[in-house]
């Protein structure tokens, strides 16, 4: 029993060390910000071009629904890479050698790093997930031809967005949930790709997918 409680205590100590580390070196910044920057870059800057390149596939579903799972995988991957890097630094600095000559629970050295990485990656995934949902929030469909409703469509509804950020979830919701006859129904990704970019285009009165027209600055005005 005492062995077990020592193991827990050692692991907690190592976890505390890892959290202190991530707050002081810049790994937390990389792990948290890089996925978000990549998401913003791939969605708002290159999103139009890539979305257009998807062609028929994109018409079936929103570009963001393809992007989001990739961002998540990248987030987890960069979290793993950061852990490997931290461990390597530890080994090179000789502090692990010191730990190995102490009567501690040996797996705690690794366990602390892995738990710390898990926490960082979870925060990062939640943040980028929130960002994805923000980017693909549900829109209201306008009555055709109305410019006023075009601006209505563009207002993102963040409260319903989280569930739609990943592709598999989007597929589950491919069927419209409300009657098409209703003038205000929650729209699905199946019907609209990259909603905010689309709304930009539609309000501009154009249906062509031109990357130059999908720029962040043009989108900024309506969103």
């Amino acid at each position: 029993m005492s062995n077990f409680s020592f193991a827990l205590r050692d692991s907690a100590t190592m976890l505390r060390r890892d959290v202190q580390h991530s707050l002081r070196n810049f790994s937390i910044v990389f792990v948290l910000l890089v996925p978000i920057i990549m998401l913003l870059l791939l969605n708002y800057v290159f999103g139009g071009a890539i979305g257009a390149g998807l062609g028929g596939v994109a018409r079936g579903s929103a570009y963001i629904d393809y992007l989001a799972p990739g961002i998540f995988v990248m987030t987890v991957g960069s979290g793993c890479a950061a852990t490997a890097l931290n461990l390597c630094t530890d080994m090179a600095e000789g502090i692990v050698t010191r730990f190995r000559t102490m009567a501690i629970f040996r797996a705690s050295v690794l366990l602390g790093q892995v738990l710390g990485s898990l926490i960082r990656t979870l925060i990062s995934v939640v943040l980028s997930g929130w960002r994805c949902s923000w980017a693909s929030g549900p829109r209201r469909v306008p009555s055709p031809g109305s410019r006023r409703s075009a601006s209505l469509r563009c207002s993102p509804s963040r409260s319903h967005g989280w569930g739609r950020c990943s592709g598999w979830w989007a597929k589950r919701r491919r069927e419209p949930t409300a009657s098409p006859s209703s003038s205000n129904y929650w729209h699905t990704p199946a019907a609209h790709s990259s909603a905010r970019n689309r709304c930009q285009l539609e309000s501009a009165g154009s249906r062509s997918f031109s990357p130059s027209r999908l720029s962040l600055t043009r989108c900024g005005g309506c969103c």
Binding site: F6, T13, Q20, E93, G94, I95, T97, T101, A103
Partner: protein, 314 residues
């Protein structure tokens, strides 16, 4: 005995690093392991501090068998290697608290121990700074302080003063002496022979994986003939004249020196100088230094095989 080793062997592939070593280190003493680079000093420390395992041989440390109870051994020892094992992202104080937590001290006790050690090692002002801003001597002191958090009975010091300035070295020596006064046993490896001479009660010389000599510093020096007086000449003519008259002795034409062997006593010294005065009458302008055998002589005599400096004025 704090350390008892019998027939310790270790080889990496075909390369034999330790070829059967017997060590006995008494409790409360300073034991110095000397040897040229590649003699197996660090390997010995790594085996004794449970970092790697020996191929064969029996070792007991602090009454525990090294192979069967490594955790009991780890609880009794502390290691301060030539690598700096401090955490650069934590402050000095946090490093000590980390060690206190890993030694399962209570929070209050850990803080008290950390504060005591910071004061003892003159690190109070630097306690809230990270080791990256420390000088080499401060880093080494923090390193040793971290080792001392767990109150080890045996401390391995692998080249503790390498790269320190003379003042920091003397501070470190004083710390080591204080530790021994508290009853701690020190196992020291060093490149500096004067350090071993200064500190150690017992010295073992390791060469090519074998112990070639063991004893107190005085015992080792006594068994090596290295005492001589060295005559320093102003020019080559004087050197030539004296060398011709006195006959056989170690001669260095480049440095313009001659060495006359003595046993270090006043009688032999006087006899040598009288002979110089009487036979050559050339004492004007000749400088004299007396050289008693030191650990350098022991070191070179015992590990002399590929020694390019042999006969070079030593």
């Amino acid at each position: 005995m704090m350390i008892e080793t019998r027939g310790l062997r270790k080889s990496f592939g075909d390369h034999v690093v330790l070829a059967g070593i017997d060590l006995d280190v008494a409790e409360g003493s300073i034991f110095a392991l000397l040897g040229p680079n590649g003699a197996g000093k660090t390997t010995t420390v790594q085996i004794l501090s449970t970092l790697i395992s020996a191929d064969s041989g029996k070792t007991r440390i602090a009454g525990h068998d090294l192979a069967r109870e490594p955790d009991a051994v780890r609880a009794a020892i502390g290691v301060t290697g030539q690598f700096s094992a401090v955490d650069d992202l934590l402050t000095g104080e946090e490093n000590l608290l980390l060690m206190a937590d890993l030694h399962h001290l209570s929070r209050r006790e850990g803080r008290k121990r950390a504060a005591d050690l910071l004061e003892r090692f003159e690190l109070v002002e630097a306690a809230k700074q990270r080791p990256a801003t420390y000088s080499g001597g401060m880093r080494r002191r923090l390193d040793l302080a971290m080792t001392l958090v767990g109150n080890p009975r045996l401390i391995f010091l692998d080249e503790p003063t390498t790269g320190l300035d003379p003042r920091s070295r003397h501070t470190m020596w004083q710390i080591i002496r204080d530790l021994v006064a508290d009853g701690v046993t020190i196992f020291l490896t060093t490149q500096y022979l004067d350090e071993a001479d200064e500190l150690a009660n017992q010295i073992a010389v390791l060469d090519r994986g074998k112990l070639v000599a063991e004893g107190t510093p005085d015992e080792l020096k006594r068994c090596i003939p290295g005492g001589h007086i060295q005559l320093q000449f102003a020019d080559a003519c004087g050197l030539e004249a004296v060398a011709h008259t006195l006959g056989e002795m170690v001669r260095n034409d480049e440095a313009l020196t001659l060495q006359i062997p003595t046993d270090g006593s006043i009688r032999s010294l006087k006899a040598a100088l009288d002979r110089l005065d009487y036979e050559t009458n050339a004492v004007d302008g000749v400088g004299v230094t007396v050289h008693t055998p030191d650990l350098d002589d022991v070191f070179f005599a015992l590990t002399s095989h590929p020694d390019p400096q042999k006969g070079d004025g030593r």
